[in-house]
Every structure is written in C-alpha cells, then in structure tokens.
C-alpha cells in the first residue's frame, strides 16, 4: 500500500554531503507534487560529528516535523546506531553493505558496486528515489539543475550512477515505502525561513544590509550578497555587530531601507544601536534568528528564548514591533510588513525567527510579487518636500517637528537645500542637541506617541480550530505547525481544540484575542523556552493567567508528539 506520508532521516557526518542529497530529494518531492517540511540538525563543526536532514513529505500539506522515522538513510554507521530507537516499527534503515552491520530493520546496499567515491551521494539519491517511488526523470532533472552547469564533466557519470542505484534498488526492494501518487500542481517554491526573509526584504526594497557572520542568521546576508550586484544593493560584512548596526543606521538616515541580521549574542552588541535608531527615528529592520543561550549556548540549535530580550532591548523607552513568523509565507510577508512599519513609524522593527525555521525547507506557493509595494524613502522625501511648499530653506528644517501623530516629515540629507540634523542626544525639533528639559519631555512623548501607528496595524493572531475550545494552545513563531498538528490529533479523538498563533508578538492588542483566552476551557502556552515568555507577556498586557505551559528548551523544535506528551503531564 502506498504511503500518504513519509518521515525520512538522512544522517551522517558533517562534510559527507547529506545536505546535498537532502536538498536534491526535497526538490524531487516537490516537483513531483508532494508537500514537504525539512528539519535540519547539525553540530557546530565542519567535518565529522553527527548531522541530520529530515524530510517529512506527504501528498497533503505538512505542517510540522514529527517524531519516528519511516526511513533512515545512514551515510555513516553511527547514524544507524543513533536513530535505530526512533525507527517506526515498519521502518527501514538503509546502510552500506561495507559496514557489515546486521539487524532486523537494516537494509544493506552494496554502494561500492554501484558508485565510485565522489558519486556515492548520487547513488544514495538513486536508492532513496527508487525506495519511495520517485521516477528517474525527476531525479535526473534535479541532478542536472544542481550540477549540470557547475560540473558538466560529471554529468554523465552522475546520471549513470543514479540509474544504476535506482535499478538495483527496484530489483532488490520494491515494496513498502512508495509514496502515493500525486499530481504536480502549479509550481511550488522550495525555500527555508531565511530564504523567505531575504526574499521578503528584497521585495520590500532593502538596499543595505550589514552583518557579522553568526549562525543561524548568516544565510540571510549571504542570500542578499549573492544578489547584491544584480538587484542593486550593498551588503557589507562589518568588523563586528556594533559596526553592522551603526552602518545600517547611517545608511537608513541617508535614505536606504536597511537590514541587520544576527542571533542572540550578536544582537547583544547591537542593543545600543537599536536605541540609537529609536532616538534618531531612523527606520531599521533587525532579523534576530534565535538559538539557545545563554552566551554561546548551542550555536546550531533552535530556541524561542529571546522574546523578552528583544522586546526590552535598548535603554530608554521607545515603541517597536516584533514579528514572529510561523510559516515560510509569513517569513516573507512579515518581513515586507516590517520594512513598511519601520519606514512609517521611523524606528526599529524586529523579525524574530529561529534556527529550526531558518533551515526548514518547505514547499510554498510562489509569492505574489506584484502585490508587494517596496518602501522608498526618496518618494517620501519628495512628498514631504512638496508639502513644505515654498518653505524658506534658510529656516532650519525641523526633522523632529512635534506633530499630533508623533511622526515628523522626513527629508533625506543632500537631496534638497534643507539640512537634516540627527543627534543621539536629546534634541530640539531641528535635531540639535538640547538640555531644555521641557523639550526633552515633549520628545519622549513624541517618540512614544508613534506607538499609536504601530498599534493600528497589529497583525492579529491567527485562530484555528474549535471556537470556543475546551483546550486552547497558544504560541508564536515557528511552533505553529506543531500546535496545529497536535490540535488536530486531539480533535480526531473528539476534543474541542483551538490554536492561537501570534505572528506578531508585540505590541499585543487584547481586544484581538482576550475573549478567546477567557472563553476557552483550558489555555496552554506552547513555547520553545523554559519560562513561558509569551505567557508572561500576555499576563503583563491583559492580566490573564495562562493555565499551563508546554515548554521545550533542549535545542530541538517542538513536535506534535512533544506537545501531546506535555499536555498529558
């Protein structure tokens, strides 16, 4: 019987190429009409150790990673040993005959006879493809797309190896793991959270990105660097995170939509710059991709433990917004929103993601680029200039004019006769430093007033499931899918379950969700941290005390199974 869903783990040492095999397989699955969600687990090293690339694939949508594997493809003997306990009863571990391993669930492949050295991974792909019933055309096409241009000399051998491994597998094991047939629908994208954030930034008109490498945030900057020349943007690797954020504020002051990307420890060094952006009222988007702390912690694992840290980062008081996407689509769209909100509120806006989502390749419908408007500070500059009409250019331009909304018309330096003065000290309306305490008070109020705009645009939390619910799961960011799947499985058992997911975690608008909390039988927060940060924030904002928490803080993503176990406790 064909399988609707398969959970496939590819495991091996860093450097063995398991990501290459995994990505090829991912592409084949999506091309052949299946849905997909990838979970990557890797160590903070370049060679050796034990890494995993898990593909959960289905003819239906795949909301979350899951426990228990149907197939374990071991690129090294350790993988077989480590993941044997996680194998489903009917599962299979594909190993290399050469290792001489034996056991009930092991299936040995004579790789040596199928491929030579550098083509081993191609053989693996052939084996897996055949096992799960993908056709050779889709496999070959994927190989060609990946290596055709880069290594044309290896094309023939690659194809040969693939076909050989494929054929061998079909002959020796044709049963058990075939995926149910699917019709390839309209084109789907395959991309991970960081890809989608990068694409969102590009669509939103990002023109400047400064960064200092830090896992799991680096790939955002690398994505942009890769397209910098053709799309017309500047990506600068800074000497440290302090330089990165100050460069970005400098570029933003001058008129470029700007982005910084980092993780917890690097963000620490940006905290002063965040406060600077707030004081200068400069738009700035900061993507903070979480990993477990404190300090260096687990640099390649996932966590949701920096919500409060980001929310209260920066000395002094100023408004901000924090988006916490839970899907690839949200990664894209929240990023676009972040750029607009930063521009409109003239201040810092955050995208808070995590390693799991950042590395999780998924299939998604192409983004409707035509519907996205890019921010363009120069347009606003022109509009503001026009509004000023024949204002005397020798009268100092009031960059920080006190307005009812708290938002002042923003000109850009060098683009008109008006001089743009910005100062990190408290300042008068014209931007010059002041120690007039009455002005200081008004400026504090002006900056905080901008919260109104931010509040008027809050993305409400998404609700899924039964309303009212006996059990309401509440979460944010990357846990969305796991909550929904856990919820569904309880609903299948007859319970009334709802899921409330925040893809914007600050500010909170109680009127958007409080009644759901109050009307639910039992409310449980599901978070990737050890203290229940969203739960605490909800209490701070509404007084509502969430009944219980399911928390994960071992560096792994929440799974439906983990949530269900947690609910039973």
């Amino acid at each position: 019987m064909a399988r609707e869903t398969l959970n496939i783990l590819i495991g091996g040492e860093a450097g063995q190429g398991l990501v290459t095999v995994g990505e090829l397989l991912a592409r084949c699955l999506v091309r052949s009409g299946r849905h997909l969600q990838v979970t990557q687990g890797y160590m903070s090293r370049i060679r050796g150790g034990h890494n995993t690339f898990v593909l959960r694939t289905s003819v239906h949508e795949v909301p979350a990673p899951a426990e228990g594997f149907d197939l374990v493809v071991a690129l090294d003997p350790a993988t077989a040993r480590i993941h044997e306990p996680e194998l489903k009863p009917e599962g299979l571990i594909v190993v290399d005959e050469a290792w001489g391993l034996t056991g009930g669930n092991l299936w040995a492949v004579p790789y040596k006879t199928l491929a030579s050295g550098r083509y081993m991974n191609t053989a693996s792909l052939g084996v897996i493809g055949a096992l799960i019933g993908l056709g050779t055309p889709v496999l070959l096409a994927a190989l060609e797309k990946a290596f055709g241009k880069k290594h044309p000399d290896q094309a023939a051998e690659n194809a040969n190896t693939l076909e050989k491994a494929y054929a061998w597998t079909r002959e020796n094991r044709s049963d058990g793991f075939h995926l149910a047939p699917a019709q390839p629908g309209p084109t789907r994208l395959i991309l991970n959270g960081n890809d989608a954030i990068s694409l969102g930034a590009m669509a939103a008109g990002v023109r400047f990105c400064a960064f200092y490498p830090m896992t799991p945030a680096t790939t955002i900057a690398l994505n942009l660097a890769d397209r910098a020349a053709k799309l017309g943007l500047v990506v600068e690797q800074a000497e440290d995170e302090i330089a990165a954020v100050n460069m970005a504020v400098g570029a933003a002051y001058t008129g470029l939509p700007s982005l910084v990307s980092t993780s917890g420890g690097g963000f620490a060094l940006m905290v002063e710059g965040i406060s600077l952006a707030a004081m200068l009222e400069t738009p700035l988007v900061a993507a903070v991709i979480q990993r477990p702390g404190p300090a260096t912690g687990l640099p390649t694992r996932t966590a949701q433990a920096d919500l409060e840290y980001v929310l209260f980062s920066g000395h002094g008081e100023f408004p901000r917004a924090i988006f916490a996407p839970g899907t690839i689509d949200q990664c894209f769209h929240r990023t676009v929103q972040a750029f607009h909100l930063a521009e409109d509120s003239q201040g810092p806006v955050f995208i808070l993601s995590d390693q799991f989502l950042s590395d999780s390749l998924r299939d998604t419908a192409p983004f409707d680029l035509a519907s996205v408007t890019a921010v363009n500070p120069a347009d606003r500059h022109r509009a503001a200039l026009e509004a000023m009409g024949s204002a005397d250019p020798s009268a100092p331009y009031q960059r920080y004019a006190l307005t009812p909304s708290g938002i002042s018309p923003r000109l850009l330096p060098g683009l008109s006769e008006h001089l743009v003065v910005s100062d990190s000290d408290e300042h008068t309306e014209d931007g010059h430093l002041t120690e007039d305490l009455d002005v200081a008070r008004k400026m504090v109020e002006k900056r905080l007033k901008k919260a109104d705009l931010i509040r008027s645009r809050i993305v409400p939390p998404d609700f899924w499931g039964d309303d009212p619910a006996d059990l309401l799961l509440v979460g944010w960011g990357s846990t969305l899918g796991a909550m929904i799947e856990a919820g569904q499985s309880l609903r299948d058992r007859g319970r009334r379950v709802g899921v409330l997911h925040f893809s914007q975690v600050w500010p909170l608008a109680p009127e958007q969700f409080l009644v759901r909390l109050e009307s639910a039988g039992r409310v449980v927060a599901v978070e990737g941290n050890a203290t229940g940060q969203l739960a605490n924030l909800i209490r701070r904002e509404t007084g509502f005390r969430i009944d219980a928490v399911v928390l994960r803080y071992d560096g792994l993503p929440l799974t439906p199974e983990f949530i269900l176990r947690g609910l039973e406790e």
Partner: protein, 284 residues
Amino acid sequence: MVDIKEYGQFETAWCPGCGNHQIIQAVKRALAEEGLRPRQVLMVSGIGQAAKSPHYLRANVFNGLHGRALPAATGARLANPGLKVLIESGDGCSYGEGGNHFLAGIRRNIDVTYIVHDNQIYGLTKGQASPTTEFGFVTKAQPQGVFNTPFNPVAAAVGLRCGFVARGFSGDVDHLAGLIRAGMAHRGFALIDVLQPCVSFNKVNTFAWYKKRVQPLGPEYDPADWAVALQTAHEWGDRIPLGVIYRDETRVPLEDRIPALASGSLIGRPVNQTVLAEIMREYE
C-alpha cells in the same frame, strides 16, 4: 569657493581657550574653500566634546553614539556617495571605544575625512586617560599615572597603509585648514589627527607644550615614501612633525569597488521587478 558665512556662527558649549574652537574654524574654512555647500556635506560624530562640533556649523549632521561615528559614516557614504562625509570626534571616541572601527575603516578604505580632535584625554567625562594620554599622566581614574603605552594614531595608520595620514595642530588654523582640504581631496580614507589643548583636563600637553614641539614638514618631504613616512610618523618628542605624513593616491576607495554603486547612489532606486522575479524562480 563658497562664502564661509554659509556655515554660520554658533555659540558653543566648549570651555574658553579650548582648541576645539580653532578646529571648527579650520573645518568651516576648508569646506568653503573647497567650494562645498552645506547641503553637500554630512558631518558625522560620536560623543564627547569634540563630537559636538557638527552642531556648530551648518551642514547635514549625524551625531551618533560614542565610538561609532565611523561605521555610521560608512553606511551613509555607501548609501549616498554624492555626499562629502567628514567625521569629527575625540581621541577617546576614535581610538578608544571606536578602536576596532578605526582598524577596519582604514582597511575598508571608505572615502571619508576623519578629523580627530586629539586632546589626549577624555574631556567630556572629566579627564580620564584616553588611548593617546602619555605614560605616567595622573588622573582621578589613574591615580598612579597611566600605565599603558600611548597610542600613536598617525603611526598606526601609516603602518596600516592608510592612503592619507596627516597630523595637524589646532593652534595653526591655516595649516590645519589646508590639511583638511587635502584630506577631502583624497579619494579614500583620510585621517587627520589634530593636536588640541584641553585647558580643563590636560595640564601637561598645553598649547605652549605643543607650540614648542610642532614643526610642519617642509616642501622637501615626500609623503609618498612609505618607509620615510613610517619613520616620521613614529617621531614624537621634542619635535612633533605636522603635515601630510603619508599619502598613497593609488588605493581604490571602497565605493568604487561595489558593483551596485557603479551607477551612483541607491537612494530612490526602484526594485527591478524582473530581476526580483528571476531570483524567486531560483527557488523553484
């Protein structure tokens, strides 16, 4: 040449007798003489007494964080290479808190003119030692005197092959204005370390102390000779050489290397939808 009056006249928060007064004068003169109008100029600074300078002339101003003027200036320059970007900040700001950016900025060779008001002290915070404070100098924070070897910024910059390295003195406005003009004319990172008496906290390196020692380099001096420049840069004693100590016009500024900037400032450039769609298709 632009009328210096365009740059205005302002009351300052500096002590009477402070060298800062002359430096700002020299800056204004240099800007006017270069024919720059205030709208073309962006003055960037950090925090400190020197860092208040941009408030005392008419220009675009980015007065950022202590120690972080250079990265902000870098971002601004990369955003709009049409702006003439000058940095004015103190020795503490530039070589202390901002030391890492100083190293990186020289390597990056961004086209900014960096004028350091070097009073060899933390002025605004009331007189602690800065990186350039002399060995043995006693302050409330260093009651046994400074233990550290002083930082010679000019020597460090020449060592790093910074394309333009000069030393000025606030007491000689004409000479200083000339250095600033030369620094602005240089395409790339230009450092001008300006010896500046602080009458309130530096009672050692006073106006008289500097006056006795500073000695402008003569026309025979060739700033293109790196080995000589290195030697000259390390001179600091009874004679302190002033002038352009090292100049290398062959270094290409960062702005010229970045493909996206080949057609000028990115400000207001619309997103190329075709390219964007292409990029998205890479993920199919």
